[in-house]
């Protein structure tokens, strides 16, 4: 062994070995440090990535919310204007009711209703204001209201009626949802076909069935519709496509918010789509009363024809509509039954009738007797009845 100690070669090897070991250890340490660094970087990267995703999503939501807010207030203005215009149109229709202009006014009214409905639909998608009703309305009237909000309302036929009303809170949403269904039904069927509405009582409430004779929906469209009608609805107005398809998205939101159901999964016997709106008992009431007559403003404004308090007291009692009551022997069915106020003085109805009859006979005999001038003596009361004022 000892002879090897002096061998420089051995020493050299030894030194080289030690150096190599040292080197390896150092490299491994460096490699470990690098690995750790890489891991750290990877973690950091992942963290950044998820942060980025989150912030993008948040930004999207914020943008969506902002869009919704802007649209909501814009639609609110439009809805208000449409409602205002509707009132103006109602007034004009009453004012020019006897002129040929009424036809045009009705047409403008129709356009205005469609315009209002579009604004309402967008507002619904933006969680906005729907516009409310103070009174309950019959199911039939709500269906007709919906009918009036679409372009081709003439093609819609309501085949049955039920004696139920809809609570005031649900009137607008149900009308809007039905209008969207009817819009779809009339848009996707040929213009010479009829869209039928049947209203039926079912154990769960009331069904409004809309049948069209169109081409129906493809599986893809049906799936989309069902998805929109179900709870995972499209959020907001983005993603409705161009041109935007509001219908089912709007209906979905309304169903969720007001608690009624719409299904389009059956097909109509006429080949098109059958849409069924199920109104649960919570949204239904008994049939609303006939419209309460307007307050009798005009009744007070119309004095007795001859003036004076006595004449006013003798004047025929006005109806609840503020119109003078026409006296007739048989009672009229529709006029709200206020007690027939006995007239304190003057002729009874039959006496009055006799007088009028005599008057009419007089004028007729006067007219018939006109050629023979000799008969025209003083007794006929008809002589002064011809409308001429002789001073």
């Amino acid at each position: 062994m000892t002879e090897y100690i002096g061998n420089p070669l051995l020493w050299a090897l030894l030194v080289a070995l030690v150096a190599a070991v040292a080197l390896i250890i150092r490299q491994r340490r460096a490699a470990r440090a690098l690995r750790q660094e890489v891991q750290g970087l990877k973690d950091h990267y992942a963290e950044l990535e998820s942060d980025y995703g989150k912030s993008v999503q948040a930004a999207q939501e914020r943008a969506e919310d902002e869009t919704k807010t802007v649209l909501k207030s814009a639609m609110r203005t439009l809805q208000g204007l449409a409602a205002e215009q509707q009132l103006v149109l109602s007034r004009l229709q009453t004012k020019y009711g006897d002129s040929a202009m009424l036809q045009d006014l009705l047409e403008i009214d129709h356009t205005n209703s469609q315009f209002g409905r579009r604004a309402q639909s967008i507002a619904v998608l933006c969680d906005g204001w729907l516009g409310g009703r103070r009174d309950t309305a019959s199911v039939y009237d709500v269906v007709r209201s919906a009918q009036g909000r679409i372009r081709h309302f003439r093609r819609v036929e309501i085949l049955s009626q039920v004696d139920f009303g809809i609570t005031s809170r649900a009137v607008e949403p149900v009308a809007l949802a039905l209008a969207e269904l009817l819009d779809n039904a009339t848009s996707y069927s040929s213009p010479d076909t009829v869209v039928e509405i049947n209203i039926r009582t079912v154990p769960k409430g009331i069904c409004v069935v809309v049948d069209d004779a169109g081409v129906g929906m493809s599986d893809e469209e049906r799936a989309r519709a069902e998805k929109l009608l179900a709870s995972d609805r499209a959020s907001g107005v983005a993603g409705l496509g161009n041109p935007p398809q509001f219908g089912f998205a709007v209906i979905g939101v309304l169903c969720e918010r007001f608690g009624f159901e719409v299904s389009v999964d059956s097909s109509s016997p006429y080949g098109g789509v059958r849409a069924v709106v199920l109104l649960p008992h919570e949204l239904l009431t008994s049939m609303p009363d006939k419209k309460a007559p307007a307050p009798a403003v005009r009744a007070a404004a119309v004095p007795g024809l001859d003036g004076g308090p006595e004449a006013a007291a003798l004047a025929p009692s006005p109806t609840a509509d503020g119109l003078p009551r026409r006296r007739r022997k048989r009672p009229m069915a529709i006029v709200p039954g206020s007690d027939p106020a006995p007239r304190p003085a003057g002729r009874s109805d039959s006496e009055q009738a006799q007088v009028m009859g005599a008057f009419q006979r007089g004028t007729q005999s006067g007219r018939a007797a006109r050629p023979e001038a000799g008969d025209r003596t003083s007794s006929t009361p008809g002589a002064s009845s011809e409308g001429h004022e002789v001073s």
Binding site: A83, Q86, L87, L89, S90, Q93, T94, Y96, G97, D98, S99, A100, L102, Q103, L106, E107, D109, H110, S113, W129, L130, G131, G132, R133, R134, A137, S138, Y140, D141, V142, R144, S145, Q147, G148, F153, R154, L159, Q161, R169, V171, A175, P293, A294, T319, D321, L323, R326, R328, R330, P331, M332, A333, I334, V335, R367, S385, E386, G387, H388, V390
Partner: protein, 125 residues
């Protein structure tokens, strides 16, 4: 939403008049004027169920005897033209009978009246 409903201004009628008329056109002026008289036709005592509430109430109003178009319009609170359209369609369906207004009496000859007046003046004046 509920808070906003509270101040809801007066709303227009839920069912618009053009839906009530089903989009039909105005009838001719000669066919149904303001003073045309209308009554329910006697042979249709059974009330059809397919009529709208407005048509039903018009029939109710007419069931007791002749009423003029103007009176009917007053009682229903609809614009006159709308009532005329409804009445025209009810007449077409055979539920109503219309009677043209009583023809206006022919005016007396002005000269005769003047002569009478002169005669009276001569006698009593």
């Amino acid at each position: 939403m509920t808070g906003q409903d509270a101040w809801e201004p007066e709303a227009a009628e839920l069912v618009r008049p053009y839906v009530i008329t089903k989009g039909r056109d105005l009838p001719d002026e000669e066919q149904l004027s303001l003073i045309t008289l209308v009554t329910a036709s006697a042979d249709r005592t059974q009330r059809p169920t397919r009529l709208s509430p407005e048509e039903q109430s018009l029939l109710d109003l007419c069931s007791a005897g002749y009423l003029s178009v103007a009176e009917l319009a007053g009682h229903t609170r609809f614009p006159l033209g709308v009532v005329r359209i409804l009445l025209a369609s009810l007449t077409e369906g055979g539920y109503l009978v219309t009677r043209p207004p009583v023809a206006r009496a022919r005016l007396a000859d002005k000269e005769i009246l003047e002569e009478v007046l002169n005669g009276l003046r001569a006698k009593f004046g």
